[in-house]
Every structure is written in C-alpha cells, then in structure tokens.
C-alpha cells in the first residue's frame, strides 16, 4: 500500500507536466503524454496494479483539465497498461523488449484517443497522425525505459527479472 501512495504525487507531477508544461514546450501538436509513460513504466517496473492506478487517476485528472471528454485519457492509458501487461506476461522477463512493447501500448492509447475523436465527429487528419502522434508515441516509449529503471531502483518485485 505504501508503494502506491508515493505514486500519487508522482502522477500529479506527471499531470502537471502534461497539462501545463509540455503544451508550452512543443509546438505543432507534438505532445508526449508523460502520465502514459509513467503508467507504462510503473507496470513494467513494479506491478500492474501500480500502472493501473497511475493510468486511472492520472488520466482522469488530465481529462478534467482537457475536458470535454472526461474519462477518455484514463480509458486509453488503462488500455495501454493492459496491453503492456499482456505482452510482458507472454514474453516473460526480457528487459530489452520494454521499449517496443511500450511503443505498441502507447500507440494503442493514442489510436484509442484518435478513434474516439473520429467517432464523435472530428475531422480525419492523417498528416497530424504522422507528424504529431507518431513522434509522441516514440517519445513516450523512450521515456518508459529510464522511468521504469528509476522506479525499479526504488522497488523490488518487478515483473522483469534482473
């Protein structure tokens, strides 16, 4: 339980970065989702429950700032966590695979957000998908490795065997 408590301020910090800092840092729609990276890192480094916790609360908090689709980010992050969890369960404990797995999971989350926007009537913008979403996915996946390493250094009982 203690482990999960310190994840909450970390999630809030990630939301702060996602909501206030990253949109100001990067132009042209490129915006890595730090909460998603953290959730995936927590899933990889500690337990899936931790990843789910970060994904749920971090996603919901992000959604409150980026209304009007409250719950969408949380659902997308949870999906990514579930995918990464599924992959790591199947593939076993191969640390080198964390980045590609995280990339697939992050892409699934981004596509889920994109698909939902399309479903409610947003215009399909393939160029935006390539120019903004793809680099964001790569960035999120690359962030997972150092984050998971950092979390792992604090925790034991990772899914990955050292």
């Amino acid at each position: 339980m203690k482990r999960r408590l310190w994840l909450i301020p970390l999630s809030i910090l990630a939301v702060f970065l996602d909501v206030f800092v990253f949109p100001s840092l990067f132009a042209s729609g490129f915006r890595p989702l730090f909460v998603l990276s953290l959730a995936l890192a927590a899933t990889a480094a500690t337990k899936v429950q931790d990843g789910m916790l970060v994904a749920f609360f971090g996603g919901l908090l992000s959604d409150l700032f980026f209304h009007p689709y409250i719950g969408l980010s949380a659902a997308a992050y949870l999906t990514a966590v579930a995918i990464l969890y599924g992959f790591t369960r199947k593939a076993g404990s191969v640390r080198a695979l964390v980045i590609p797995f995280a990339a697939i999971a992050a892409a699934a989350a981004e596509l889920m957000i994109f698909g939902f926007s399309l479903a409610i009537g947003a215009r399909f913008d393939a160029m935006r998908l390539l120019r903004a979403t793809l680099p964001s996915v790569v960035c999120e996946a690359l962030l997972v490795y150092p984050l998971s390493a950092s979390l792992k250094s604090r925790e034991k009982g990772s899914m990955f065997v050292r």
């Binding site: 949109p23 789910m52 209304h67 409250i70 659902a75 949870l78």
Partner: protein, 278 residues
C-alpha cells in the same frame, strides 16, 4: 482461457475501460441527451475552472519556454481584429445599402404606374458641382436617352448618353438642364435648371419663368409638370427656399432639393409610365 477469467487486474482494467469510455461519450461535446443532465451540470463548473487554470498556468509556461509563441499569438490576434473590423465595415455598408434600396423600393411600390430600373452610381464628374453621374444600367436594361432619373428624395436628372451596361445622367445641377415644373399649391408652371450659389456655397436650383401673378411662397412644394414628356407629371423636385423679382413680369425662385448629389449612390431610371393607371 481459464487463466484470463481468473486474471483479476485484467478484469478490473477492462471494466474500468468500458465505464470510462461510456463516461467520455456522455461528456463529449454535441451529446444533446446530457446537455441538461445532472452529471454535466455538476461537472461543468469544476471542469471550466480547471480549464481556466490550465489556460492561465499554461500561458505562464508558454511565456517562459516559447516567447515566440506569444508574438505569434499577438500577430494572429491582430490579424483577427483586422478581419473583424473589415467584416464590420462591410456589414455597416450592406446595412446602409439595404436602407437605401428599401427606400427606393418603397417609392417604386408607391408609384405602380411607373416602371423602373434600379441602378448604382459608378462614376461621378470631377466637377465639384457634379453635373454628370454614371449609372450601371444601360440599353440592355431598356434604358434610352432622355429618360428621367429619380430617387425617393426627388428628381435627379435625365439620361444623356447610353451604353450597353451604363448610362450618363445630366443632373439638375447642369447649367443647360431644364425641367418643366409646377408649384403644387397654385399649379403655376415654370422652368427649373442650373444651380444657384452664393459665396461658393450651393443654395439650390433656379426656378424661372413663373407668371408675374403667381402666388409663390417660401416652403411651396415644386413638382414636375409633365410638359415636354421627359419627366412624368407629379414627381417631387424640391421646396421653395426664397422668391426673387416680385412685382416684375415674372418671378424667379430658388428651390432646394433634398438630393445630396455628392453622396448619391443609388437611383431609379423611369423606363416607362403606364398611362392607364397614371
């Protein structure tokens, strides 16, 4: 397969995902069913507050990290303001044109015996007294020479030259222009034409050849008499401003017209008069 059924975290995640998607769908824009719903009503103030916080705090970081974004935003806003100003000016112009055309339409409806062609002024004589104007209607619209040109405020002048889609109009200010008119009250007839100016200021047009016995007074209304056949009878011309030459053989008078020749923009060309109704 049984493993999946027993995987509690997976089931929790799946349930949460489904519930969250339903929640997102409910809070998505354009979902009319939730527009007045309790959920949205309860959530909107908090979401609005957080959104405003996001905007202001995000704005701070934008100023810190990307000062260029601020100048871009400033440029964009300036462009928007300029666009809006142009739109507003266009709207104002349309409104004024609408008012002018409505006035002409009312006049046309009040004179069902006359057939009109509506035209806009597309050219003006450089002469400050404006004795010739060009309209955007010509022979293709049935306009011929010597047709009367009027507005709701009175007689403008007469068509002097016609092209396929334009015509030149000699206005009442022209020295050589003569219109047969009458005093509405007394039915005394005279001739109107040319401007009367004093110290460089145009006071009105001149009314000549009124009979010596004519009882003409300031404020009398002057209308076309119909003599000569160019102007239909009874068109408003102006009001008497002052009377000269009383006690002599004939009267002269200055008639002020209500038409602002310098700012005239639309006019009606009388292309025909139905005598049966008139």
């Amino acid at each position: 397969m049984r493993k999946i059924w027993k995987n509690r975290p997976m089931w929790i995640a799946l349930t949460a995902i489904v519930l969250l998607i339903v929640l997102a769908a409910f809070t998505a824009n354009g979902n009319d069913r939730t527009e007045d719903g309790l959920f949205r009503s309860a959530l909107t103030p908090a979401a609005d507050f957080l959104h405003s916080v996001q905007k202001s705090v995000g704005g701070f970081f934008t100023r810190v990290f990307r000062p260029s974004a601020l100048s871009e935003e400033n440029e964009r806003l300036q462009k928007t303001v300029l666009e809006q100003q142009m739109k507003l000016a266009l709207l104002d112009e349309t409104e004024k044109e609408n008012a002018r055309l409505s006035e002409l339409l009312n006049f046309a409806e009040a004179n069902p015996n006359m057939r009109f062609v509506t035209a806009s002024v597309i050219g003006r004589d450089s002469n400050p007294y404006i004795d010739t104007i060009t309209l955007n209607a010509g022979s293709r619209s049935g306009v011929t020479e010597k047709m009367a040109v009027i507005t709701a405020d009175g007689v403008v002048g007469r068509v002097s030259e016609v092209g396929p889609n334009w015509c030149r109009v000699k206005t009442m200010c022209d020295e050589k222009m003569r219109i047969s008119v009458m005093v509405q009250r007394t039915r005394d007839e005279g001739m109107l034409g040319g401007i009367y100016e004093q110290d460089g200021e145009i006071l009105g047009t001149l009314l000549y050849y009124l009979p010596g016995k004519a009882d003409i007074r300031e404020g009398d209304i002057i209308r076309t008499s119909g003599i000569g056949g160019f102007f239909p009878k009874g068109l408003y011309v102006g009001t008497v401003l002052s009377v000269n030459g009383e006690g002599k053989g004939t009267h002269d008078a200055i008639v002020s017209t209500d038409i602002d020749f310098l700012h005239l923009e639309n006019a009606l060309i009388v292309v025909g008069v139905d005598e049966a109704i008139g």
